[in-house]
């Protein structure tokens, strides 16, 4: 396996030498996925809050739907966004296809159900009386909601980290709607797919190492957050 060891050595050289192309790709990955999670999270948490605290017909089917949607493959989301944004699609005039905004849209759709389901689980675990007490003490609804969310902040943070983990590593939707354009829409996963298809394994391994390091960091952060949550 001279191929594996040689490529790995080259990969670490690339990482350490600050190869500009490689770090541009890493930067695009983070900027796109961070923006996606910042757009998706507020709405997802409000939806989860309503699902956890309000009682209305259709609540259970909605919950089931969000749970089911977590399993939708990224390529299906990609295909949907592609068809919507294509010139022959309903939003073709916006000319969004093959831009970072299209990637963000795909990632928002990908992480939204996961965020709702996990936030709902966190909010559900909290005693309903927290909300009722806050309301009886005269807090307006939005203030009561903030209080409730503060109580389950660790659970919500865990949901955010899980959502971010899903979209930073997905390749199917980004490749389809982003187009893998160098310096614009090429992120870590699509770059790995490309470098491998070129037989350039070193770049692929280097980028894979960045993702792996990130996954480790996120999981350790998650573990710490949950540990603190249990102690509190």
């Amino acid at each position: 396996m001279e191929s594996l060891s040689g490529a790995s050595r080259e990969a670490f050289y690339l990482l350490l030498s600050g190869d500009p192309e490689l770090w541009t790709v890493v930067g695009i990955s983070f900027s796109v996925s961070l923006r996606a999670i910042l757009i998706a999270a507020p709405l997802a948490i409000v939806v989860a809050f309503v699902l956890a605290h309000a009682r209305f017909p259709g609540r259970r089917p909605m919950l089931s739907a969000f749970n089911a949607l977590q399993a939708v493959p990224a390529v299906v989301v990609g295909l949907t966004v592609y068809l919507l944004l294509s010139r022959s699609g309903p939003f073709g005039n916006l000319r969004l296809l093959f831009t970072q905004n299209a990637m963000i849209l795909g990632q928002v759709l990908l992480c939204f159900p996961l965020l709702v389901a996990l936030s709902h689980a966190a909010l559900q675990a909290l005693d309903r009386r927290a909300w009722e007490t806050a309301r009886t003490l005269g807090a307006p609804p939005w203030r009561a909601m903030l209080t409730t969310m503060h109580e389950v902040r660790f659970g919500l943070l865990a949901a955010l980290i899980a959502g971010f983990g899903r979209i930073i590593a997905e390749v199917g939707s980004s490749l389809m709607v982003g187009g893998n354009i160098l310096g614009a829409t090429r992120n870590i996963p699509t770059a790995i797919a490309l470098e491998t298809s070129k037989g350039e394994y070193a770049q692929g391994i280097a980028l894979g190492a960045v993702l792996l390091a990130l996954a480790l960091a996120l999981n350790m952060a998650l573990g710490m957050v949950q540990g603190r949550g249990e102690m509190a």
């Binding site: 294509s86 187009g179 160098l182 070129k198 037989g199």
Partner: protein, 278 residues
């Protein structure tokens, strides 16, 4: 406890099955299977479907096709993951042989590239005879151009054309997609952009695209395919005799006539190189 035993039995059974499958797969690989890595253009055009069944019938061998870009196809040969490669990048092929990765390179056939772009041709390159001049005009007007950017044979051809046009393509107008030909054509169509395409993929896809052929017929757009056996001295367990049988057959009169007769939408796609003339 019972459950636990059942689980262990299941685990053992699955390990056994997996081992058996692995052994079978290994034996299979050493029997009559030739692995061919080739470019997407030969696979997607349907040419291989026309050629390979005849070879399999004659030789009793089975050919497994792995269709990737030229860069990857050669890399797979270098790593000993395939027995024979069929690609289109003469300079890279020569290097592949010179480095000792492959042996017995033969010219098989050629087709050509075309420069395609928006139907309205805003940059006005339609009918230009000189491909490099056409690209230079695109660069001068910053007309959007989608590049394969994936180290494929088509990408190498495109870079060679930019070099002969004396242009360093870079900037907002030049988009390196890093994807296969079909995807790049769809992107060019969506973005009202120009691109370089092999005629086979163009013929197979043009009905779905808002593009048309603008430049063709330049000598420089000529695209020869070569076939090379992977050097059996570098890796154990290669199907070298099978690879040589395939090479011998593909440059035979019979296969070359099949290549000449191959049509998409009634248009010929490839011209044989090993056996010329009728």
């Amino acid at each position: 406890m019972r459950n636990c035993v059942a689980l262990k039995t299941l685990l053992r059974a699955s390990v056994l099955t997996a081992t058996a499958l692995l052994v079978m797969a290994t034996a299979y690989a050493q029997s009559g299977v030739v692995r061919l890595s080739t470019t997407t253009s030969t696979e997607n055009s349907g040419l291989l479907e026309e050629l390979l069944p005849r070879f399999e019938q004659r030789s009793g061998l089975r050919v497994e096709v792995i269709a990737v870009g030229t860069g990857k196809a050669l890399r797979m040969g270098r790593d000993g993951d395939v027995d024979v490669v069929l690609v289109h990048a003469p300079a890279a092929e020569e290097k592949f042989v010179a480095n000792g990765y492959g042996v017995n390179r033969r010219q098989v056939m050629y087709n050509d590239f075309v420069i395609v772009g928006p139907r309205g041709d805003p940059a006005g390159i339609a009918g230009t005879k000189d491909a490099a001049q056409a690209l230079a005009r695109l660069a001068a007007q910053r007309a959007p151009f989608v590049s394969r950017g994936d180290d494929s044979g088509t990408h190498k051809m495109e870079l060679a054309l930019w070099r002969s046009a004396d242009v360093q393509p870079a900037g907002q107008w030049y988009r390196e997609a890093g994807q296969g030909m079909g995807r790049v054509l769809l992107m060019a169509s969506e973005l009202d952009a120009y691109t370089l395409c092999d005629r086979g993929t163009w013929l197979a896809m043009h009905e779905k695209l808002a593009l048309r052929v603008l430049v063709q017929g330049d000598q420089r757009l000529y695209n020869p395919y070569g076939i090379i056996a992977v050097n059996p001295a570098r890796h154990a367990g290669l199907q070298y005799t099978g690879a040589m049988a395939l090479i011998d057959w593909i440059i035979s009169r019979e296969a070359q006539e099949l290549i000449r007769g191959f049509r998409i939408n009634n248009e010929p796609l490839f011209s044989p190189l090993a056996v010329r003339g009728p």
